[in-house]
Structure formats: structure tokens, C-alpha cells
Symmetry: D2
Subunit: 297 residues, 4 copies
Amino acid sequence: MKNAPFKGIIAYPITPFDENESVDLPLFKTLVERLVASGSHGIAPLGSTGVLPYLTDQEKEAITEATIQQVAGRVPTLVGVSNLTTERTIHHAKFAEKAGATAVMIIPMSYWKLTDDEIVKHYDAVASKISIPIMAYNNPATGGVDMSPTLLKRLLEIPNVTMIKESTGDVQRMHLLKRELGDDVAFYNGSNPLALAAFAAGAEGWCTAAPNLIPELNLSLYDAIQNNDLASAQILFLEQLNLLRFIVAKGLPRAIQAGLTILGENAGHLRAPLQPLTKIETTELSHILETTKVVFD
Amino acid sequence: MKNAPFKGIIAYPITPFDENESVDLPLFKTLVERLVASGSHGIAPLGSTGVLPYLTDQEKEAITEATIQQVAGRVPTLVGVSNLTTERTIHHAKFAEKAGATAVMIIPMSYWKLTDDEIVKHYDAVASKISIPIMAYNNPATGGVDMSPTLLKRLLEIPNVTMIKESTGDVQRMHLLKRELGDDVAFYNGSNPLALAAFAAGAEGWCTAAPNLIPELNLSLYDAIQNNDLASAQILFLEQLNLLRFIVAKGLPRAIQAGLTILGENAGHLRAPLQPLTKIETTELSHILETTKVVFD
Amino acid sequence: MKNAPFKGIIAYPITPFDENESVDLPLFKTLVERLVASGSHGIAPLGSTGVLPYLTDQEKEAITEATIQQVAGRVPTLVGVSNLTTERTIHHAKFAEKAGATAVMIIPMSYWKLTDDEIVKHYDAVASKISIPIMAYNNPATGGVDMSPTLLKRLLEIPNVTMIKESTGDVQRMHLLKRELGDDVAFYNGSNPLALAAFAAGAEGWCTAAPNLIPELNLSLYDAIQNNDLASAQILFLEQLNLLRFIVAKGLPRAIQAGLTILGENAGHLRAPLQPLTKIETTELSHILETTKVVFD
Amino acid sequence: MKNAPFKGIIAYPITPFDENESVDLPLFKTLVERLVASGSHGIAPLGSTGVLPYLTDQEKEAITEATIQQVAGRVPTLVGVSNLTTERTIHHAKFAEKAGATAVMIIPMSYWKLTDDEIVKHYDAVASKISIPIMAYNNPATGGVDMSPTLLKRLLEIPNVTMIKESTGDVQRMHLLKRELGDDVAFYNGSNPLALAAFAAGAEGWCTAAPNLIPELNLSLYDAIQNNDLASAQILFLEQLNLLRFIVAKGLPRAIQAGLTILGENAGHLRAPLQPLTKIETTELSHILETTKVVFD
């Protein structure tokens, strides 16, 4: 298999802000530490959860450095470097490599729907400028473009594009990837409510913000799959399904920030236009978190 | 759990026609016998595969009787009795019960999109006229209406509506059913390419036309799930995925008829407007069947 | 231009039932007479509005004969003869021709999604058995298949397929038809809320159930278009938009039956599973009818 | 009516780059001059056509100033100031006002799907910081969020939100806006292939990149509408439909840049990942431009 340095639960920290909407780096490090300490198998800053597109170049660089310092090699790091222009994507990919990232994640962010050739050229341009592995990320809902299995296959011909993250929310797509790509290439699931189906389909890992709130359940699900114990995996998955659906429905940064607060953690503020959950939504989340935790009593 | 007399692989026979497009009853019985003999756990005539909507009332009754005679109690039978009007649905449900069917399957066929209340009233009217269990079938693609988990829950309050067949092709829907309905109600998967994900989600059985062509693989997948052996289930599923996708893409009656012919069986003719697979499609199917069989060598 | 014997407002009667859900033929004739008397330019029984798919063969034949008797040549008649099987479609098309219909309308009703070749073969088989013109009807929502402009062009190569009825609800499709087919072929709009856009795109006529309730407004809109008076057409269209949207949203047979009753007409009963509008819906419709009529004071 | 300083054809210039992918300001001014000289009724820089999201803050400011200098008050200017964060949107809106823009256009750019409350708060925050009118722009395809007529109505309660630009591509939406908002609020069409239907529905203007290539046809269509001459408008629209569909299908910046080059104009380069049209696409565009011009011979 190609160089795929991730497996299991890859945790996505939020990017917290202070009351003036400036990035709160010390708090960010605290939140990263929680994820590492709780047993996550990888840390992925500057994803959708980390509101990558809402940050300035300087803020992205500071978050990258803070992550790598805090993780300190205990688990691999996957830094998001996606940008609308090829030039800026290269810039951030090079920065991440120099800062010590294990790998970078790139979604072909698309205002104008890109052609397949434009996407290949984009990845190729970035890949030729760095040596660490690239995870190609397919998420039509946030990226605006749906990369077909055929296109993903073309991307994987680029030597350091070695991993696929799939977030179409369609388990069929994962079956096709597995069938097309065989055991040669690792694919990862980025759709929370599809976690069980994706592992059943052969996903190597699960990219998720849920470990900010329920790390034990996320890790237990992965363990059950590793033990080839589908019956337990099904029970563990159903236990966390309500929470997974809630955080996706409300938007990961808003929902995770509210959830951390409910759990007694400082989670800082959001950057506008994002606003905190409403009171009703917060009450609903509190209830879900309480009932979800019962299993551990 | 409510009375749910099916589990495992529920096989759907095609309805074969002679060269004048009349139903070929002797051939139908032969095809049913093949399905029973190959180990299928249930037989379901007059489904989509059996081109139910293309048949006259008399033909439906003849097929019902032929099935029950041929199966002769060896496995349970699930007879499709769906009709656009409530009056005709009652007629066929009563006929099936009197003929000895184990249960009937009803999809709310919909030319005019029915309201939830209309659907409940429809099921209620039929259910009150028979004593055998009813499987409520949700398939927006063929039935034209998508029954929400909330509506399905209402239907299940009718005493002899005891089973759900889900064919939206969305594994999320199955997770929701499992969460909402718990272990009280059995749900069945009707989407072939979702077979693995559905079993992982807790489906009691798989309603499928595939046993006409690859019964061993279908049964082995179910066995692996029964043995809580996800790793084997994944391999067995990937082995049959190409075939499952092909028969769905080409339409089950056309694809199964062609497949049976390739396997050397007499499969009769189709009724217009349905036409046989093209030569290119037939060649593709031959190739899929050959490669799919390799696993048994 | 090919033989296209319709233009303007083509009115669709409902099929009324008595309290035992039997077709009420005398009442049907009364409702047809209202449509002719109010100035409609054509009468189209056995459409979606006339619940064609819920009727037996005998009922369809009786409705066909009743229409032609009642209309008595005052305006052209367009009889719906669509059926899932080719054989039954031919049967009803021949019956309609012999009964004296001006033309027949055929939608490729589709339980199993038909291929383009199957659809062409279907129309060809029917067309070769009759001499009157055929209107090919495209309505993915009720027919289950979306006929592309390319496929429609193939159908128009059949000599007596001379008209297209478009109900995708997409005005783009009409522009494409106009561009592709030029002035050679007449196309008709079947999407009520698209009436203005369709006339602007060059539709020859509007197939609609609305004349059962607001014939003057429907006819005035057509007159404005005939007078090349877009400004008036826009005002007249906005005046009737609420009603058009309501009858589509609630289903034409249910909404027209309720509307007629509100207007003091006997509209009979519906056939189950269709149920009357709820009380709240009826109140809403009453309000819309009242406000819509203000323009005529 | 609220203050709506635009009507007719509002032309969108591309943002040209030099061979190093730097913005070419002198060339930009030349392209703006062409649009003004050809008779466009308004100029709208920094739209989708102007690749707003691919530009740095400095580049956006330079484009804003260059536009206002070049237009020099001959027609009104509509400057795009949309940004993912509220803070940056305010920054650019204030800059545009100070530079002399007639109005600003704001789409709620959305990586994370915003709630209605978040969107209202976003517009409110920007509106309170400027005095010039705001055009609220609804385009789910590029903005990622679909603003309902109800939400748009809420936005219009903000005093200087005075105009709506609709690009859902659904003429129904425009009818609803007209019905809901009456003559109080101006709405503009942003969907090129819907130009005729939108004018028929009462649009005040058409926001389009097409005047870069076929200004006479765009202006003639508007004139026909102004003259209440639907018959001519239909002919003029069908004449330009192929071109309108092509530029939308290929992406406006790529298609306009290619079209200008075909017409003998210097159109500069694109910024990666955007790539020039392929040779085949360019040939197709040449053919469309040639056939489209025939009408003027």
C-alpha cells in the first residue's frame, strides 16, 4: 500500500476565538491536548471544523505551528491547506511541510466548478512542491465539486497523493472506491452518520470532530471493527448516532463549541457570521449528551 | 417482536412470458423451484421483479396460486398485492390470504402523491380485511412516494402491519428505523447494492432478485453476518457488487431474464414495452457472471 | 407545421364518482359541458386530473364515449390512452379513434424505467395502429421517465406523433424544444405555475384543469399573449398564480373537486386512496377563490 | 419603490491577469470601457465573472477604484463586496462606498450553511456601516445557501437593502418574489438562460456577462420588453440562447475570456486553478459566435 500514515480516529479540533473574534492560540492548544490525551489516533487542524476558509493566511500558519508544537509527535498530524487558488494552496502546503506536518489534506475548493483537468493540474502543481503525503478530500457539500472515482484514480497516479477522504455521504461511493482501488490505497470516511457503514465498507479511518465530545464511543466503535465484532459495533454506533446527526445538522464548529461548553470546557467564541447555537438547540444538545453518556455508567 | 415470519435471503422470481406475451405458468413454477432448491429463505412473487403492475388481475391470481402450490410450505411466501386503488388492493390481499400466502407486501403505489393520512387509511382498510401479516414497502423510485420513519411508525400501530421493507437506497434511513423502532419491528433491505450496509445496520433480511443468478454468494453473505464475521462479509459483498449494480442499473426483469439465459436456463420472454438487454449489455453481463463465479472454483 | 389540432386553453375534466366509488357518467357529462360552455378551446378526458390510472378498461371506454358525445364536435378532444403495457395502450388508442377522438395523448408510463429504444418502440407500435395524431407527453413526476429533447425529436419522426406536451416544470426545456424543433412542431405546456413563462417561450397551448374553476382568467391570459401584450399577461398571470400553485400542491383531482364544491357545483366523490381536502385546506382554497375573483368585480 | 438605481442590462466585466497571474489593471479598464461604450446600463465589477473569491483584499480594492475611475459616472456601478466573514464584508463595503460606488452587491457566501438568523445579522451588520444601497444576491450554486422569499423579505426590512438579484434558475421563484414583494422592491435576474422568462416575470434588469460578447442582442431583448413586444423578445432571445447556455456551462470567466479572444480583443490570462477553454470548446464557441451574429447582417 502507498504511504498512508493514518488509521482509526482522526480528530478535528475547532478553532476558538476570543471575544474580539481573534484566534485564541493558547485555548486552541488546550483543545488539541484534550484530543491527544483522550486517545485519538491523529490530529487534523484547519479542516471544516476548524473554519479554515474564515481564517487569514497568518492565522492558518499560527494554527499549523501550534498544532505541531502541542502534538509533539505523539500522533500524526494532518494539516488542511486547501485554498481557492493554486498559488495559495502551494504556499500553505509548503508551510505545513516545513513546520513538520505528517501530511496535508486538500479539497479542490471551487467557486467556479472546476473541470477534471483543472483539478488534476491543481493537485499536480501542489504535489510537485512538497514531499509529504497528500490526502485528497471529496466533499461536494462544502467544496462544491464532486470528484468521481475515475478522477480520484487519476489523482492517485500522482506519487504523493496517497489517501482519499470521502464525504459524499453515499456508502455506494465507498464500495466503488474499495472495488476500484483495492488494497492499494487507503480511504477515510468524513461523513459522521456514515461511520458504521464506512467501516463495514473497509474505511481505514474516520475523520471526525466527535472526539471533542465523545472520544470513548468513537474509539470503542473503531476497536469493535478491529476485533471483527460487528454486533458490538452496531450497538456502539446506534448509541452515538443521535449526537453524530446533531453535530452535522447544526454545523460542526457551532455544535462542538456548544458541546464543549456544556461539558464544562472553555470553548471560546465563534467568528461572525457564525453564531452560537440557540437556547433551544443547546438544550437539545445537553439532552443528547446526557443520554449518550448513560452507556458508560 | 411482532410477527415477522421472514429472515435471511427472500428471493424474487421473475414472471416469464411466452412468445405471445402471455404468462408462462409452468415456466414460472420451474423458476420458483430453482429458488427454493438453491436455499433461499423465502419466496416473494409479484414484486417489481415479477412485473406486478404489468399484469391483469387474473394473471396476478394465477401467479399467486402457482407460487403457493410450488413452494408447498417449504419456506414462507410473501405475495405482492399493491394496487393504485384501495379496493383492488383489498381484493388481492384477500385472495392471497385465502390461497395460503404467509404474508403480503404492500407499497402505496402512487400516481397522485398521497398524503400521510391517505396512506394510513389505505393500509388500515386493507389490514382490517385480512389476518396475515403485512410488510409495508417503502420505495420512492417505483412507488412514487417516500414514507418517512414517522409515517412508518404510524403504520406499525396497525396490528398486522409487522414488517418494513426499505428501498430508498439510503443507509441513514435504516439506522433511523433501527433507532426509532428498536428490536420491536423487523426491517428488510430492498436495495441490492446496499446489502452489506443494511446488514451492518441490523436488517433481518434482504429482499432480492439476485438468487436467480448467484444464490450461493447471497446466502454466504448472510451466513457471514450471522456469524458476526464482518471481514468475510466484506469480501463476499465486494465479490457480488458488480452483479448487484448491473441488475439494478438495467432493471431487474430484463437483467434477470438475460442472466438466466446466459446460465443456460429457459427464462421466457418479456412483456412490451420491456425489451431484452441489447447485445452489448448481454456481453457485459456474461463477463460479470463469469468473473463473479471465479470465487467458487 | 405538422397536424396539431389544438391551441389555447385545453381543459381537463375530473372523473367524478358516486358514493360507492363508481364512475358517475351523467355528472361527468355535466362537468364537461361546463368546460365547453365556458369557452375552453379543447377538452382532454382521462388525464392525470381524470385519474386515468385508477380506472378499469371499461370505465376508460365509457368516459371516452361520454366525452365525445357531450362535446359533439364543438371543440377538439384529446383522449388520454396511456398504459403500462404496449398492448393495452394500443387497445385504448384504437378505441378512442373509433369513438371519434380528435387526437390521443400518450405518456410512457413507467414502472421500470424504460430505455430510449423501448420508448420509441412503444410509441411506434401504437402509432402504426391508428391514424389520428398523437401528443407525446413528458412528465417525469407522474410518468417516472424524463424524455430528453433528443428522444422527443426521435418520436416526432413517427408521422402521427405531431405534438409535445411538456410538464417538467423547467422553462429551459421549452426554450430547447423551440430551438431544436423550430416552428415545425407544436408544444404545449402542462405545468400550471409555468403558464406565463411557457407562453413567453412559444407554447401553442396550455393543458390545464384550472378552467374547472377560473376559466375567464385562463382564457384572458391566452388572449393577452395572442395580442402580444406581455404587460397585461403578467398582471393576469399573477392574479391566478395562487390558485394554480394550490391545485398543483394539493393534487389536481382533490383540489378541483373541492373547488367545484366551493363554487356550488356537484363534483361527486373521489376514489380511494384519494381523500377529500381537509377542512383547513378547503378554507384556504375558499379564500384563494374569493380573492382571485376580485379582479372581475 | 425603494431606492433601486439599476435597470436594464447590468454588465459584468472579467478580471484579466497577466502571464504571471497578477491582475492587469490597464487591461481591466479597457474591458470596462468596452462595456460602457456598447451601451450597458450599469457596470458590476467583482462578481462571479470577475473571480471575486480568487482575489486578495488589495486586488479587490484596486479593481473597485479602477472601475469607478473608468466609468466616471456615465452609468451606475455595482461593486461586489461579498466575503465569508462579516468583518471583511464590512471592510470592503465601506471601501466601495468611499471610492464612489453607486451600490454594493452581497451574497451570503457560505462554507458552513448559515441559518436565517445568521444571514440577517450579517446583512444588518454591513448595512449599518454604509449608506449606499445593497443588492442582496441569492445564488445557491455559488453561494452555497438558498435564501427563501421569506428570508429575502426579512432582509428587505433593513432600510438600505433595496434590491434582490435572483439566480436560482427557477422562474417560479421570481413569480413568488413579484407576488410577495409587489412593486415595492426591484428584482434582477442573474441566470442567463432565464433572461426571457425573468423579464416576462417582471425583472427590472438582467445581471450578465454576455455584453462582453453580444451587447446588441442583450440590449435589443431589453428594448423589446420595454416596448411590450413579446413576439420580438422571443425571437431575440432564441437568437442568443446558444451563447448564453455555452457561457454558463463552461463557467463565465473562462468562456468570456475565450470569447473576447475570438473577437480579436486582448483578454489576458486566467488565474489557476482556472484554465483556458480547450481547443474543442474554443472551436464550438467560435461557431456559436459566428451563427449568433448572422441576425445583424
